[in-house]
Amino acid sequence: MLESLLRILALIRKELLAVLKDGPSRFSLFAPPILQCLIFGYAATYDLNNVPYAVVDQDRSAASHELLAALDGSGVFQRVATLDRAGDIKSTIDGRRALLVIQIGQDFERRLMAGRQADIQVIADGRNSNTAGTALGYVSAIVGTFNANWASGHGQSAAPLRVAMRAWFNANLETRWYMVPALIGTLTFLQTLLLTALSVAREREQGTLDQLLVTPFRPAEIIIGKALPSVLIGTIQATLILLVAQLWFRIPFAGSYLTLYAGLLLFLLAAVGIGLMLSAIVATMQQAVLYTFVTMMPFALLSGLTTPLSNMPEFFQYLTLINPLRYAIDIAHRVYLEGADFAQLAPDLWPLALIASVTLSGTAWLFRRGFE
């Protein structure tokens, strides 16, 4: 037992030396997660803070000025042009000078004064329909405030029903709070997968796997010795991203570190298990890299990171049940933002444990079959 432990420790030491021996490899393991977390933390946001818009104000009244002042003063909308004719709208949108064109008809104020409905035409560039939809939502909110102000300022009765909105766990609905914790899982996933797949493939390509096999190591020991270094490196990467999230982006951490790391450990074991299974199949390092990408791509797209899982057709939703990244992202979100405990996370934890044990024992089987 003790001998076995010593052998495993020796193998772990050898593995870590192999990956961390030279500068470029060390750099490519630890710098990209931090850089990507920083860049994507800033880039990956559906929130808008700079929407160029143009206006066709055919009313030129106090009311229309008040509305436009509300838009200009919102800090989100930047007026890039004031068009004289509705005919200029097409070229403004086509050439992407403005995301929105707001057209106020000439009876705008008159209709408001008469207590009637006054239409505002808003034309949005739908080439990115998601961005356009968000911008339209902002316009509606500003118009809503304008209506309330107008009613109280002109002695008209306000709408009898107000809608009070509140969002749990992310009060300002910032996409960054969603994206950055999710990166803890996403960025470590790819690297751990690749690292594990390559570690066996490298030995195979260089012929040292045969040497390893004539030593007294048992297959299980080799697998543990290959798995643990990757788990360790993955944990360090996750910690780096966690630090960026808290110290740089200042996203408040609501949960317990113990819960988060327990979830991460299970997730990394599952990821390493998949990586090892890949490595048992591939013959060369190039194949290892390519197969990792082929595996990674659907896992990343079907993880709920970029599009919600509940939007997917049922078939794909079932498919995501074997995706460890899906659970990892959910764990990261719920522990980080919601402060969920072990009991609440059980639906995420046991599938990860299952995936880890299936893939790791599957690897042992593949290895044994390969060795004999």
Binding site: Q36, N130, L290
Partner: protein
């Protein structure tokens, strides 16, 4: 000034013939290598097909059938009527409850994404013109939460308008109403904006990632050294490396165009020739980046990681395909100008959805062309230097 006829004519034309023969032989070798290796087939054909399939069927930002709990703390006809609006809406999967703690529990168990709460004195306060409906959303997925909020607001506003029309409440004073139109994508179909993203991802994958691996492998195995002792020049090797992958990339593009037409039903409003032209430019840029990285790193692992970080992930995050570039901080926006994917996505979105808008096409295509020339020259310079 020496005139050209002084120089013998024969060797130069013979040199040209030899050059084209050498390139042809190398292209043949690359092509054989490409098709012999199952892993290249994986990345050149399986991944593109997989991406098309996932983008076509699995990914969607169109939020539908959102599970919500409608909590009626008052059993008045008005409250029930409001709840009916949620039950009948195609956007919601409404669950009627009477107690708030129960709804809270469902939200924490992630069974519902939102709660609509009608307070006990709803009708009385409605009569006073001071009623409030609460909408609580699970905010972690902020984008989805915002969409749910706006749907809920819409459903409640519709109910209020109906009440007013039926004469229950006095009409509010004059109000401005937003009539919005989404140009180029009237039906707000998210496939319309996924297609340009799909194409840019596939072209980046085939262009940059594959070549990065191929060149690094030759360095690692020392077969590039073997090529150098032959009369083949560095430029010719690069050309021969690019041609098969260029063809594969254009094949990928063709596949995407077919899928966009027959699977996604996304219109191609611009000219297909302009689309092909700008795609060629982008493909050359991607190929050159891949070759440059692999020549610089000479290591398959480092080169594939670098390519991923420099090309693939930015194509997803920093190209303007998913996230709006204008809303990013200045430093990140500045960075995005250095990335070819940004220009290509802009071109794809415009050519597919808006048509041949020259004020968009010309500047973006010019930047891509400039990048292509610059990167090709740089790659050549780097490989010539390494040769020495």
């Amino acid at each position: 000034m020496r005139s050209a006829p002084d120089r013998p004519v024969l060797p130069s034309s013979a040199g040209g013939a030899a050059k084209s023969r050498r390139v042809k032989a190398l292209v043949l070798k690359e092509t054989y290598q490409l098709f012999r290796d199952p892993s290249s087939i994986a990345i050149g054909i399986i991944i593109p097909l997989l991406l098309i399939l996932l983008f076509g069927f699995a990914l969607s930002l169109d939020v539908k059938n959102v599970p919500v709990a409608v909590v009626l703390e008052e059993a008045s006809p008005a409250a029930t009527d409001l709840a009916a609006g949620f039950v009948l809406s195609p956007y919601f999967d409404a669950l009627l409850l009477t107690s708030m703690p129960q709804a809270r529990e469902l939200m924490l168990q992630r069974k519902v994404d939102g709660i609509v709460r009608v307070r006990p004195d709803f009708v009385r306060r409605l009569g006073l013109g001071d009623a409030e409906a609460q909408v609580l959303v699970y905010g972690i997925d902020a984008n989805k939460a915002r969409i749910i909020e706006s749907y809920a607001q819409g459903a409640i506003a519709q109910w209020a308008a109906r009440r007013t029309a039926e004469g229950f409440e006095a009409a509010a004073g004059g109000s401005a109403v937003v009539q919005s139109r989404l140009w180029f994508n009237e039906a707000n179909d998210s496939h319309y904006f996924l297609v340009p993203g799909l194409i840019v991802l596939i072209m980046t994958l085939i262009g940059a990632l594959m070549t990065a691996l191929v060149m690094a492998r030759e360095w690692e195995r020392g077969t590039l050294e073997a090529l150098f002792v032959t009369p083949v020049r560095a430029g010719e090797i690069l050309l021969a490396k690019m041609i098969p992958y260029f063809v594969l990339g254009m094949f990928g593009l063709g596949l995407c165009i077919l899928a966009s037409r027959f699977m996604f039903h996304v219109p191609l409003r611009g000219s297909i020739w302009i689309l092909a032209g700008v795609s060629m430019l982008y493909l050359i840029v991607a190929l050159a980046i891949g070759l440059l990285i692999s020549t610089a790193t000479k290591n398959q692992f480092v080169s594939s990681m670098t390519t991923l970080v420099v090309t693939f992930l930015p194509a997803l995050f920093l190209s303007g395909f998913l996230f709006d570039l204008r809303s990013m901080p200045a430093a990140v926006r500045f960075l995005s100008y250095a990335l070819p994917a940004r220009y290509y996505v802009n071109l794809l979105q415009t050519i597919f959805l808006a048509g041949d808008v020259w004020s968009v096409i010309l500047p973006n295509a010019a930047v891509l062309a400039g990048m292509a020339c610059g990167l090709l020259a740089l790659t050549r310079a780097v490989s010539v230097k390494r040769l020495g």
